[in-house]
């Protein structure tokens, strides 16, 4: 990407430069406000000219996001944002592209595209707002809603087993997978910055509150007390520890099985030390969930892999260097021809 490296030419932006003139129309109290504000705030730190930034979204509450960003933006159709972003990157590999989606948009109707944008490793930053509910259609269960969830479309409880977004992303070959929480602004900002700096497809699950249809879905991570018990901050190279200072707990890994132990009861070297380059252990980590386990937040995995558009560009360059630029007049008369006088 050519942008981002020309730091001296990039104007000194403030958060305000990224606020559009549109009235924000989310419900008061929606978790999306905090995400919008955090994204606007981190934009100046990208070092990318504002005109080179594009936000692409699908359909759903989260997908209104581009209207509120003073960048280029495209609010598209349900589930297809990853495909549209892929095409944009193919035509314009010089642009910095974000995809904003939700649990329904990105994992239900758009699950297939999510799979493929991640496995191809297209250079886009994907923000998936997970509120475990369909908000815009007024309260049906989503693919991340828990089994037994009572919603408008499941009065007797959902019979669908939910998908774990981060485990899904890791399973399909994502090269950057992280999770953060809408109410933890500092952590969200840090996580989003790292995602935006990643070369390749970066997937960030943002646990987000829908105060109208699924209030406190992530309450366990909001409440001051329970948060201490349940939030596991993961950091590369550091042991996986959580819980209150006076009763610190940790994770140990037996084979591929995680176990919670009291920190005081095992020697320090027994703790599972997070290695973000190890996809297999990240998959185990991503699968852990409250209440049996703590909920891991932070960068679960980051690995390097070839970027799809780079490979395409390489082939194009090679084709030109080996055989010269395309020439339609020559092509038309190539091969078998005959002349009538």
């Amino acid at each position: 990407m050519s942008t981002g490296t020309n730091a001296p030419q990039v104007p000194r932006y403030t958060k305000k430069d990224f606020e559009s003139d549109q009235d924000v129309r989310w419900c008061p109290g929606c978790g999306d406000y905090a995400i919008l504000s955090t994204v606007q705030k981190m934009m100046p730190d990208l070092g990318v000219p504002r005109e080179d930034i594009v936000f692409i979204s699908g359909i759903g509450c989260s997908s209104r996001f581009p209207y509120y960003m003073n960048t280029y933006g495209f609010h598209t159709i349900h589930g297809r944002a990853p495909a549209i972003a892929t095409g944009l990157r193919l035509a314009r590999p010089d642009l910095k592209v974000f995809v904003v989606t939700g649990d329904g948009d990105g994992l239900s109707i758009g699950g297939n595209h999510m799979l493929h944008v991640l496995r191809r490793n297209v250079n886009v930053t994907i923000l998936l707002f997970n509120n475990r509910i369909y908000g815009l259609t007024k309260g049906q269960y989503s693919p991340t809603s828990e089994l037994g969830k009572v919603t408008k479309s499941t009065p007797m409880g959902s019979t669908d087993r939910p998908v774990n977004p981060c485990a899904f992303a890791l399973g399909v070959g994502a090269t950057f997978v992280a999770r953060t929480v809408d109410r933890n602004i500092a952590h969200m900002e840090e996580t989003l910055k790292r995602a935006a700096a990643h070369r390749g497809a970066a997937f960030v699950e943002i646990l987000q509150n829908c105060n109208i249809y699924n209030d406190m879905a992530w309450g366990i991570l909001y409440d001051r007390e329970s948060k201490i018990e349940h939030e596991l901050r993961v950091e590369h190279g550091k042991p996986l520890l959580f819980g209150p200072a006076d009763a610190r707990k940790g994770l140990v890994l037996d084979g591929v099985k995680a176990r919670v132990v009291l920190a005081s009861e095992v020697p320090a070297e027994r703790f599972w030390v997070h290695d973000q380059s190890d996809i297999a252990s990240a998959l185990v980590l991503a699968s852990l969930a409250s209440p049996q386990f703590p909920t891991p937040v932070g960068v679960l995995a980051q690995v390097e892999a070839p970027i799809y558009e780079d490979l395409i560009a390489d082939q194009e360059k090679r084709a030109v260097s080996e055989r010269g630029p395309g020439d339609i007049a020559r092509l038309l008369t190539s091969g078998d021809t005959w002349t009538i006088r």
Partner: protein
């Protein structure tokens, strides 16, 4: 390979001159009939004939040998006069096995040449083809046709004695024997095929030698065997001077895209999900990366159209090709491009339907889907090529219109055009019209949905342009500003504007060419791949003294501005289509004209004779 004059070899036997001939090679999927037909086409092209071809193959990749559904065939008509179609009835049928005979014999003219490979007529193949008795022993075959029972397999294998190839490899050369024989019968030059063999098998000298020998053996067999009393000549056709090549519709379409890519200098993103009969366009384009065409084999049809919308938003040219089922899946994406007013082109290579239908057969039944197959009021430009070579110009034209008017364009090709070939006068790319690409860069007074007066196009802005940051999407837009708007009057206005924008494309349409008198008893109106058949039928009726003319519509939405006026100059209007009557409905609705349809939906091109009959019926019923 290039030559200026084609010379036919001097035959030892009497040579009868024909105006034209229709030949069909038929055999098992594994018998190489497509290749045989293509090579014979090249030979006839070399000899200066006009040509039309009809490949016909099963959807199954390796259908069980000897079965009726595993039969593959290639038909061509070549002539010294203008050839519009691959022909209705066969002058010559080559049947490499009993199944091929059973499937195709009905199309052979009485007294036509029938060449049978006798060694394939053994019990297993006869059983598979459902013959209770061996047709080789059927006296009626000899009475009705000029039947030649030749052991092609044995003659081929015998001719390859001494070559280090196994029996199976030798057997595989038998199609070249058949080609050699037919080349002799019609005195078409085998040089281009010899040349092709040399190039194709550079890395395998033995196979090259085997095929060469088989080809020559077949040729000499015709010359020396006592069974053929005469051979035939077809003089070069009077064709416009210039350099020609044989061109199929799908290749022409791909090359039209390359021409537009070079002319505009813009990156082209071609999204595709493999689907018959459109996949060859993807294959062709993926070989031409040096034209900055980025082929994207998407995860599905929806992603393919999504990606090209993304590319168009980025200021690139977004294109995709599909067939009917894929067009259905792309509907929502196309509607987004209508709403966002972004230029994309979707090529629909129509095939038999509905559902999976007849994947390798042709049909024209997606017209209504192209015109109306989206939610709400969602007009797009629809155009259709008339011949294989025309696909080149139509692809280019579709791109030109899309970027000039900021509209999606659907191009309706079909399986017949896609795989069919014709001798194509190579155009000078400089003669192609300009493609008017203008990116807005001026921030002063910028509004995403402000419009240009003549075209109603909104400005195309490349992301990366400072000061023009803006947001678009699928929600209804406020006129001019492009902001989200739910205002009732604004919505009504925008519905009208989107329609008017498409209507204004009519200013791009040249006056309609009328083939025949400017008024009279009957006007035949066609569109798409039926051009050849309709033209041939109308010319035949005209020669018989009928007051008949024809027009062929390239532009299906908007329709040509002069169409209503032309329709009123004839007492009757006939609309032949390979569907249940789609254009005819449009014409009736649009112009209140009592047009009648001629409709056959058989997966194959219409028969010229059927249209001649329909013309006669209407003209005579008139009196």
């Amino acid at each position: 390979m290039s030559q200026t004059t084609a010379t036919a070899p001097a035959p030892a036997k009497p040579r009868r001159i024909l105006d034209r001939a229709v030949v069909r090679f038929a055999g098992d999927s594994g018998d190489g009939m497509q290749l045989t037909g293509e090579q014979f086409t090249t030979e006839a092209a070399w000899a200066g004939n006009d040509i039309a071809t009809l490949p016909n193959f099963p959807a199954e990749i390796r259908a069980p040998a000897g079965t009726l559904f595993g039969v593959s065939s290639f038909q061509l008509q070549f002539g010294s006069r203008r050839v519009y179609t691959p022909g209705d009835r066969l002058d010559c049928l080559v049947a490499m096995n009993p199944a091929a005979l059973k499937v195709h014999l009905g199309d052979l003219k009485e007294g036509g040449l029938l060449i049978l490979n006798t060694s394939a007529f053994e019990k297993k193949n006869l059983d598979r083809a459902g013959y209770a008795t061996n047709p080789l022993e059927d006296a009626a075959l000899e009475e009705r046709y000029r039947t030649h029972k030749i052991d092609i397999t044995r003659l081929t294998v015998d001719g390859l004695a001494g070559l280090p190839l196994n029996a199976k490899e030798k057997d595989r050369c038998k199609n070249f024997f058949a080609l050699g024989l037919v080349s002799w019968i019609y005195t078409r030059p085998i040089e281009p095929t010899l040349d092709w063999i040399k190039k194709r098998f550079t890395k395998n000298a033995d196979v090259a030698e085997a095929n060469t020998r088989a080809l020559k053996a077949g040729y000499h067999f015709g010359e020396t065997a006592e069974i053929f009393a005469e051979c035939y000549g077809v003089e070069p056709a009077e064709m416009a001077p210039g350099t020609y090549r044989s061109m199929t519709g799908n290749r022409a379409l791909a090359w039209g895209i390359l021409a537009a890519a070079q002319r505009t200098g813009l990156p082209v993103v071609y999204g595709a999900y493999p689907i018959t009969p459109a996949s060859d366009i993807l294959h062709e384009l993926s070989m031409h990366k040096r034209f900055h065409v980025r082929t994207f084999q998407a995860e599905d049809e929806i992603a393919a159209v999504g990606a090209i919308i993304g590319a168009a938003f980025g200021g690139g040219i977004g294109l995709c090709a599909t067939s009917g089922p894929g067009l259905a899946l792309k509907s929502e994406g196309i509607a987004l491009a209508v709403m966002a007013e972004l230029p994309i082109v979707v090529f629909d290579i129509q095939r038999g339907g509905p559902s999976t239908g007849l994947p390798t057969k042709t049909e024209q039944a997606d017209l209504m889907q192209a015109l109306y197959g989206r939610n709400s009021e969602c007009p797009v430009v629809v155009i259709a090529p008339a011949t294989p070579g025309d696909c080149f110009f139509v692809a280019y034209e579709a791109i030109r219109i899309a970027v000039k008017y900021m509209v999606p364009v659907i191009v309706l090709s079909d399986g017949y055009l896609a795989n069919g070939a014709e001798p194509w006068l190579i155009p000078d790319p400089k003669s192609l019209p300009d493609i008017d690409v203008r990116f807005r860069t001026e921030p002063e007074g910028f509004h995403p949905y402000a419009r240009e007066e003549a075209t109603l196009a909104r400005p195309w802005v490349r992301p990366g342009t400072p000061g023009l940051e803006h947001r678009i999407g699928g929600l209804e837009k406020q006129d001019v500003t492009g902001n989200v708007s739910y205002d009732p009057d604004n919505h009504d206005l925008m519905v009208r504007l989107r329609a008017e924008k498409v209507r204004r494309v009519a200013q791009e349409i040249p006056p309609t060419t009328i083939n025949g008198p400017a008024g009279g008893d009957l006007l035949v109106v066609g569109w798409g791949g039926t051009y050849g058949t309709i033209t041939a039928a109308v010319e035949e009726a005209q020669m018989a003294g009928k007051s008949v003319a024809s027009i062929h519509l390239r532009h299906l939405n908007p329709l040509p501005p002069d169409l209503g006026q032309i329709l009123r100059q004839y007492r009757r209007v006939l609309v032949p289509e390979i569907n249940s009557g789609q254009l005819v409905r449009v014409l009736r609705a649009e112009y209140l004209v009592d047009a009648v349809g001629f409709n056959r939906v058989r997966g194959v091109p219409l028969a010229t004779q059927d249209i001649v009959d329909a013309i006669n019926q209407l003209v005579e019923g008139n009196r």
